[in-house]
Symmetry: C2
Subunit: 388 residues, 2 copies
């Protein structure tokens, strides 16, 4: 396979972006990425866009050609990819594979979601479509209840980790304070997190990720093509893996470790010829605080059951020198514009590896990772990046 | 690129399948395809599923892992592809490219849609999400009105083609009479078509495709791998092209010829090293009768403005010896289970090239094509197939 690199990045702020339409969000993030890449629009050969649920939330599907029209890309093949909250990373991976296989030299990948114009119960119902209609959502389960059950099971197997969940929330909020694009830029205290509005035991509202509008885009190119364009800031994709699982929670092998993450990570590490100890920073899928804990174990940063201790020891902080987790603030505080999330994670990883992350810069960052799951970890993509 | 072939096919009947869930439809069509291919499930390396609007219609997204669970495919990467009415063909093409590039040997691609449980106005609104919310559907346009306007423009440029639109309806209904999987199995007369319930001038209800439930799946394999498995019935994909266009009708170069079709066909013909004169049969996207006429011109079967005459002369009939169009009955009479449509078109082409089409068999069929568009031809995929 040919080496592929990220040569351009762009994103909108995440948040309640009243007055900005889906078109506006695509325009802003997509144009930024193209300008950042320094390519001409006629060099772009195809477009992949992740979007989770524009049809339910805004009656807007067919976002491939919508984005092509907005970004004025002519007649390139375009399509929407959907894998629940992993939709963005799926779009990224299809673009990556098209170049890796030699079928294209330059493609644009992106993601968008517009959610905040709908009422909370409507958003909850829209998100529930990532689970099974017949045996889960149709009988009243929602994602907070599913992941709360996962937290309860984690407590049962490894002991209460309320302290570590709280530490995750505090840390991600602290990181988001340093990120201009983040939705929630305020510090939280242990007391505030643990006495927050109850959502599904043991979660308070501070254990849950945000409802966000936003878009993010990346321009990918064959590394040799990027070099011939005299690109600076070439961030190579050195590993990529995707794996899946049964959709429903009832058919999982385990609730306290996600098989799809483990398999996707295994593939990505193998391809990159690195291990967890080589990762300087990782944007991981913190849809809930417990998920960040489980991810840190599944990705090999800590042994099973040991992430809470590691987190409480500060090993996942930006300046820990061990592994910086979610320096952007994560889904928890940067925000979770679902279709854009995976792409926005990569935006952060690239920003860090370029050394452009300002106050939240992870020192000596050489290798970074993004990890994105859909539904109850029924879809997982892990990518590993390195500054060329 | 490696040669890729279709080695297994399966579909449900199309129609109002009350009592069959999305899961049931996937199970039936997917298992049929896997059995037909004669592969073990653990040989299947990934799954691509086309679905247009399960989220709006059934609150069910994330159909990649749903299908993986139903078909018991373990942890393979899976994803949903959406490109409006071309969703099925997009899923097919991504699977094709994964094998063509050497990244996989055997994949399964499919499509599903469940529509008939919703009221007509809800279905119309769901379908409208394939157009632009802001400038089209949001101001009251629906697809019948968009394509009626296209028909009016065709009349303006080339003269009234009411007779040919009627002939398309009659022919597709006649063909569906010979197809057990078809939804509408009854002949219609010229008088019946032209005096049918008015939808959008010049369309009567008989100019419009159907609202359908259904699923279809295909197993694809590298041709050399298929041969080593001692497969019979290997149908090779000799050409494939995808192209796009602006989403909105206001930004099209022409309304009486679709640029995306022309570009996709050009790529597919070039790759296959054949021309329109070599195609024995084609399943084309007849969402409305006028669309079939325009497609026949865009694909090169007739000169611009000349398809009506050719159709009236019987040149698109199954037994014409010129080019058999929609021997299955097409979207018009076989049915239009949107996400499944492109896959079901290929099901028909493969059935014909295998010589298994019974009463509707196109004699001496060697090369077949499917043509699938999304929205107002903002997405188009053309594939060409040949019996090995």
């Amino acid at each position: 396979m040919r080496s592929v690199s990220v040569i351009g990045i762009g994103e909108t702020k995440f948040g309640k972006l009243t007055g900005q339409t889906i078109r506006d969000l695509i325009k802003e993030a997509g144009e930024k990425a193209i300008v950042d890449a320094g390519v001409r629009k006629d060099q772009i050969e195809s477009l992949y866009i992740g979007n989770f649920n524009g049809q339910y939330l805004s009656n807007q599907g067919h976002m491939g050609p919508l984005a092509v029209e907005v970004l004025e890309l002519g007649h390139v093949p375009a399509m929407r990819l959907e894998g629940a909250c992993a939709s963005g990373s799926i779009a990224f991976r299809q673009g990556f594979m098209e170049i890796a296989s030699g079928l294209a030299d330059v493609v644009i990948v992106g993601g968008v979601e517009k959610m905040t114009h709908r009422k909370t119960d409507e958003v909850t119902e829209a998100i529930a479509s990532a689970a099974d209609m017949h045996t889960e959502t149709g009988v009243g389960m929602t994602f907070p209840s599913i992941f709360a059950m996962i937290a309860q099971r984690y407590y049962h197997e490894y002991g209460d980790c309320r302290d570590a969940m709280t530490a995750v929330a505090i840390q991600n909020h602290d990181n988001a304070l340093l990120n201009d694009d983040a939705q929630l830029r305020k510090a939280v205290t242990k007391e505030k997190v643990e006495s927050g509005f109850p959502i599904a035991d043991p979660f308070t509202v501070y254990d849950c990720s945000l409802v966000s509008d936003g878009a993010a885009f990346l321009v990918l190119a064959a590394t040799d093509v990027a070099q011939s364009l005299n690109q600076e800031n070439i961030i190579e994709i050195i590993g990529s893996g995707q794996a899946g699982d049964n959709l429903t929670i009832a058919k999982k092998e385990s609730l306290t470790g996600f098989k799809a993450t483990k398999l996707a990570a295994e593939k990505a590490y193998k391809m990159a010829e690195v291990g967890p100890e080589d990762i300087d920073l990782a944007e991981v899928h913190d849809c809930f605080t417990i998920t960040q804990i489980i991810n840190c174990e599944d990705l090999g940063f800590f042994e099973p059951g040991k992430a809470p201790q590691g987190i409480l020891e500060g090993k996942t902080a930006i300046d820990s020198g061990y592994v910086a987790i979610n320096p952007s603030g994560g889904l928890k505080a940067k925000g979770h514009a679902i279709g854009a999330t995976g792409i926005s994670q990569i935006f952060e990883v690239v920003t860090q590896l370029r050394g452009d992350a300002g106050e939240r810069q992870v020192k000596n960052a050489i290798i970074g990772m993004n990890h994105n799951i859909g539904g109850t970890a029924a879809t997982c993509i892990v990518n590993i990046f390195k500054k060329l």
